[in-house]
């Protein structure tokens, strides 16, 4: 929906200060934990110390008798199961009959203060019968003992989801290929690490309305699940999302604390707050699934992909979360930017006795992207083709259809490759870098929202309401969750562009289910495209009304009226102008109160015509290329990532600095997953998390982070507002394989398992050296080293 009868961009693509930047920088933003209500109680959750156990009994009497304790709830108070995906409601707010991982919630106490609540949960007596725990997904799947089925709602043992899809004759294409690259890959689990821990506050109004403030990125789904579990009709519940301190997918479904504070507020008749400890954030998790991936890829000798065969095991943890979708995504999102010829994937998600995995930035597709991009690099080496050239030859192009029948619109992948190639000096530098130094490239794609909502319905996927008033201000009401990605600013920029107001004159009110139209939430990189389109739709209707009113008074055609710089101007005689306030007053006089709604629904011709063919289809796809430069120390195994060049096709950057920030932040996050992050439990120590805190779970600091050169590519898409596509998740994916491929270029080792920790890198270097000494392999970059010493 490129802007119809627009004049020129006076805001689109510019650099903007985020609408909430000054509050944030001055430290006066009120996050959920900053809310304090009169008479408010504090709640704590008692959690399971066992990875897998039956609950034989819970005795809360001692806790209830403690002075200062106002209420205690257990799983018996939440017998209705829920789940973010309507087909897999397989968890309860608190454990009902069994616990499935260390940290599973068992009971919750509301008390006059946190210390009293902590003392009270310690006084609750729980009798457990321990069960054998499973930490390996394949062992969990092999289990036939029904007693040891982990998830209490599972119908097929420890199988959470199994998907097989085949497009074309894969085995035939592999047989006919000039080269088949086979590889086994492992992507380690990682978590989000948002700085703000989850927090929720609930209050019951005298009229019975339950209000829940929560650090969530999906207020609408939280609204629905609260209604279901608490058996309160949705019109009696209000969900408000205060400003968030990061989310990255870790707050995209309901969690135990929201149900607990709501129930306890109802029970106690007082407001109740619960703030997770950092440790509890690690237990709620829903981060990246560990995946074991087996890939076979066929190539012609010219480097064209003939077919891809993938077999993937997903380690899901104790609950489904988004797992049904993740299982599809692990195969479905891989079919661009390269034309696969033929494709088969089999993905199996298992329940294990660990915190549940779910969506983390680049949901479900970062892991297979890691595998396929290394596969391509291996093929480039084997065929003697430049890795960038090999990727160019397989580019699916714009206005194309993927092997799994998804329709791709705009595609700036070629330009992304060229930009990183040029900026890094790839052609000149790569052939001459000595042993230890290397350059590596990788490409990727991501969705700009999913074509279909999580629960099937015919209503719009996004809606925005805008009001103008005679003071010259605009108010934008949107259900979308600004999680720090800048979606409120994005809406202000669109309104600013269309109505000629500076950002300061626009107030965006978001994510309050009483005040705002429904939006589905901040996930799958949907907001710019979907909510942006809805906003553009409403803003353009208002713009026409305002221009009409001005044109009438000036007796000129409407198209001559321009709204910009807090004014309405005559395009042919800019000396003639009035303030925005005056123009709005004229329009209000002509039309009555100035308010419009806009909504957006996805085009229904983007997906494949088969079961599962809608999952992963999107109105538009972003494209990315990463190129990493590394310095590998062959004596310590330390990988020093010097620079990452990244070019990202976001269709159209509505706000340049925010897009650059998303590209940099995504690239950084991938870098951390490549080198250090590991969200794991310790089977040798009863399944405890190896370090549920930010000292032991190592995310890179500022000093560790490479120079990131973020470049914006704009292949405008007909489905995006002003052509815009996503920028929040795509630029993570190829960061990781680009580093892997650069390490190969530097020292000749393939690291097919993450993370690339120094001991692992060193062991691989030493193994290669042994093989060189045994005459099995030539020294890496031998020619270059010989040439240099000559």
């Amino acid at each position: 929906m490129p802007g119809e009868d627009r004049d020129r961009d006076w805001q689109i693509g510019k650099v903007h200060r985020k609408v909430d930047a000054m509050e944030r920088m001055r430290g006066i933003t009120r996050y959920t934990d900053d809310l304090k209500l009169p008479g408010m109680l504090h709640a704590k959750i008692l959690r399971s110390p066992h990875p897998h156990a039956k609950i034989l009994s819970i005795d809360t009497s001692a806790a209830e008798a403690m002075p200062g304790v106002f209420g205690v709830v257990t799983g018996q108070d939440f017998r209705i199961p829920y789940g973010i995906i309507p087909w897999t409601p397989d968890e309860n707010a608190l454990a009902v009959d069994k616990v499935c991982h260390v940290g599973d919630g068992v009971a919750c106490v509301a008390a006059v203060d946190e210390d009293t609540a902590i003392a009270a949960i310690a006084a609750i007596k729980v009798e457990y019968e321990e069960l054998r725990a499973f930490y390996d997904p394949e062992e969990a799947l092999a289990n036939r003992d029904r007693e040891l089925t982990i998830n209490p709602y599972a119908r097929k043992g420890n199988l959470s989801k199994h998907v097989v899809l085949e497009f074309g004759d894969v085995e035939g294409s592999l047989e006919g290929a000039d080269l088949v690259v086979a590889g086994d890959y492992f992507f380690e689990g990682t978590t989000h690490g948002a700085i703000e821990p989850h927090c929720a506050v609930a209050q019951v109004e005298p009229n019975g309305i339950l209000t829940v403030w929560s650090a969530t990125q999906v207020s609408h789904y939280l609204h629905r699940e609260l209604s279901k579990v608490l058996e309160i009709p949705p019109h009696q519940i209000r969900v408000i999302q205060p400003p968030l301190g990061g989310a990255f997918g870790g707050k995209s479904e309901p969690f135990d604390l929201e149900f607990c504070v709501a129930k306890l507020a109802l029970v106690c008749g007082r407001p109740v707050k619960l703030l997770y400890t950092r440790e509890e954030v690690f237990y709620s998790h829903r981060g990246r699934h560990p995946m074991k991936m087996k890939y076979r890829t066929g190539f012609t000798k010219e480097g064209k992909i003939t077919g891809v065969s993938a077999k993937t095991i997903l380690d899901g943890g104790a609950y489904s979360s988004f797992g049904l979708v993740t299982t599809y995504y692990s195969g479905q999102l891989l079919c661009a930017p390269y034309d696969f010829g033929s494709y088969r994937f089999e993905s199996t998600r298992a329940y294990t006795n660990k915190p549940a995995c779910g969506p983390k930035r680049g949901h479900g597709s970062v892991q297979p992207r890691f595998a396929i991009e290394i596969q391509l690099d291996k093929a480039a080496v084997a065929l003697g083709i430049d890795p960038i050239e090999l990727r160019r030859r397989n580019d699916i192009g714009s206005d194309s259809v993927t092997v799994n029948e998804f329709r791709v619109g705009s595609n700036g992948f070629q330009e992304c490759l060229t930009r990183v190639e040029t900026a890094s000096g790839w052609q000149e530098r790569r052939p001459s870098l000595p042993y230890g130094q290397g350059l590596g490239v990788a490409g990727s794609t991501y969705i700009s929202g999913t074509n279909y909502p999580i629960y099937p319905n015919e209503m719009p996927q996004a809606a925005v309401q805008i009001c103008l008033d005679r003071s010259g201000r605009a108010r934008v009401f949107s259900g979308a969750n600004d999680i720090g990605q800048g979606s409120n600013t994005m809406l202000a920029v669109i309104v600013s562009e269309e109505l000629g107001l500076p950002l300061d004159d626009i107030r965006v009110l978001s994510a309050d289910t009483d005040l705002c139209p429904v939006d589905l939430g901040a996930y799958s990189s949907r907001i710019t495209l979907m909510v942006g389109n809805a906003c553009l739709n409403a803003a353009q209707k208002l713009r026409r009304k305002v221009c009409e009113a001005v044109a009438k008074r000036w007796e000129i055609p409407r198209k001559r009226v321009v709204l910009a710089k807090r004014m309405a101007l005559d395009l042919e005689n800019p000396e003639r102008n009035v303030s925005s306030a005056e123009a709005f007053a004229w329009a209000e006089a002509d039309n009555g109160l100035l308010g419009e709604v806009g909504s957006y629904n996805t085009p229904k011709d983007r997906h494949g015509d088969y079961r599962g063919g809608t999952i992963g289809a999107s109105p538009a796809y972003s494209f990315t290329a990463h190129l990493a430069e590394v310095d590998v120390d062959p004596e310590t195994g330390l990988v020093d990532v010097k620079t990452i060049w990244v070019a990202h096709d976001c269709g159209k950057a509505l706000s340049k600095r925010i897009v650059e920030g998303q590209i940099e932040g995504s690239t950084y996050m991938g870098f951390g997953e490549a080198l250090m992050e590991q969200h794991i439990v310790d089977p040798e120590h009863r399944g405890v998390h190896t370090g549920p805190n930010l000292l032991d779970y190592r995310m890179p600091t500022f000093l560790d982070t490479p120079t990131i050169d973020a470049m914006i590519v704009e292949a405008a898409d007909a489905n995006g507002p002003y052509g815009a596509k996503e920028a929040g998740e795509g630029p993570l994916h190829s960061s990781i394989p680009a580093i892997a491929n650069a390490i190969y270029d530097a020292v000749g080792i393939r690291l097919d398992t993450l993370p690339f920790s120094p001991p692992k890198v060193l062991a691989a270097i030493e193994e290669r050296q042994r093989r060189v000494e045994a005459g099995e392999l030539p020294p890496h970059k031998a020619e270059r080293t010989a040439r240099r010493s000559a």
Binding site: P197, T277, H685, V688, G691, T701, D704
Partner: protein, 333 residues
């Protein structure tokens, strides 16, 4: 957020008052910067009823060169950031400026004191976790609620690791501590201060307070360094921690070595002073054999344990690599 246990805090203004307060409240704990103690309290590793804050002890905040005594005196309340930035420290003891500047993060260095850092509690991956977590592994260990060691199966001695960046350096520089207690002041060489027992890893007596670190002024030309490897370049405790000191008979890189000190941290509770380095005495600093001999001896004598992250075999190998490289760099210019 984890909650602190409840405690009383007193804030005396003189050393005598602190000693008196310690005598009055035998279980009391001293708190200076609090960057080590408070997280440990949040983890319920101890629960003292009384904290004695040293924040008002203005007399212990100086760095003074005492030529008469031949020492640099650093008051125990001096912040690590001040040591890292102090011109006298940089000139006289550059390895200490380096180690103080490598501790944790800028905000922690602005808060943490040298007195606290030399008394830093030893650390272990199975200890420095929440009480809930320790319950998950079956009820803690020798150093917390339990009676087993998760690092050395069947071990009866706690092997939690000395993780201070500054302690190995101060030992290598021959530093001593001044401790003041009910019996008055005494000076203890830091080389003798630490014990190989994670439950009681220093020789401080009940009721004693560290008031000063004394470092003998150099009497010969010397070359010193501190090498730290951690996963991240900020915030992390060291995983490889080596202090080096070569005393020389001249200023040049070809001067002969007259004495050598190598002290390694993050092994067990006590830092290890590498011995049997006589083979390098008399050799020129830039003799390539020096780096090899010293790093090899260090490798042989240091055996890391799985008490901190990363495989012990890897860390042991890295002790050799980093030691060798640091000596090679010292021999450069």
């Amino acid at each position: 957020m984890l909650r602190l246990p409840h405690f009383q805090v007193s804030a005396p203004t003189t050393v005598e008052e602190v000693v008196a307060a310690l005598k009055e409240e035998p279980g009391a704990r001293l708190v200076a910067g609090g960057t080590d103690l408070l997280p440990n309290l949040k983890h319920r590793l101890e629960a003292p009823e009384q904290l004695i804050s040293l924040g008002r002890l203005t007399s212990l905040r100086g760095i003074v060169r005492d030529d008469a005594a031949g020492v640099l005196r650093i008051g125990s309340q001096v912040r690590l950031a001040e040591i890292a930035a102090d011109p006298q420290v940089a000139e006289l003891f550059p390895s200490l400026a380096t180690s103080a500047g490598l501790v944790a993060s800028p905000s922690i260095r602005n808060t943490a004191t040298i007195g606290g850092n030399v008394n830093l509690d030893v650390r272990c991956r199975y200890v420095n976790q929440s009480e809930f977590w320790r319950g998950g592994i079956g009820g803690g260990c020798l150093k917390s609620e339990g009676d087993v060691c998760h690092v050395v199966p069947k071990g009866r001695n706690c092997v939690a690791a000395m993780s201070s960046d500054n302690v190995p350096v101060l030992i290598s520089l021959g530093a001593s501590l001044v401790l003041v207690g009910p019996e008055g002041a005494r000076e203890v060489a830091m080389a003798d201060y630490y014990r190989a027992d994670g439950l009681r890893h220093t020789k401080a007596e009940e009721g004693e307070l560290t008031t000063e670190v004394r470092i003998p002024l150099p009497t010969t030309p010397r070359r010193v360094d501190y090498v730290k490897w951690a996963v991240r370049k900020s915030i992390d405790f060291p995983l490889v921690s080596v202090a080096l000191r070569f005393d020389l008979d001249g200023e040049g890189v070809d001067a002969a070595i007259t004495a050598v000190q190598v002290v390694v941290g993050v092994l067990g509770a006590k830092p290890r002073q590498v011995s049997r380095l006589e083979a390098v005495i008399g050799r020129a600093m830039n003799d390539p054999e020096v780096a090899l001999l010293v790093s090899e001896a260090t490798f042989k004598q240091c055996k890391p344990l799985p008490n901190v992250p990363y495989e012990p075999a890897y860390r042991r190998q890295m002790i050799r690599v980093y030691t060798r490289r640091a000596i090679q760099a010292l021999a450069q210019g």
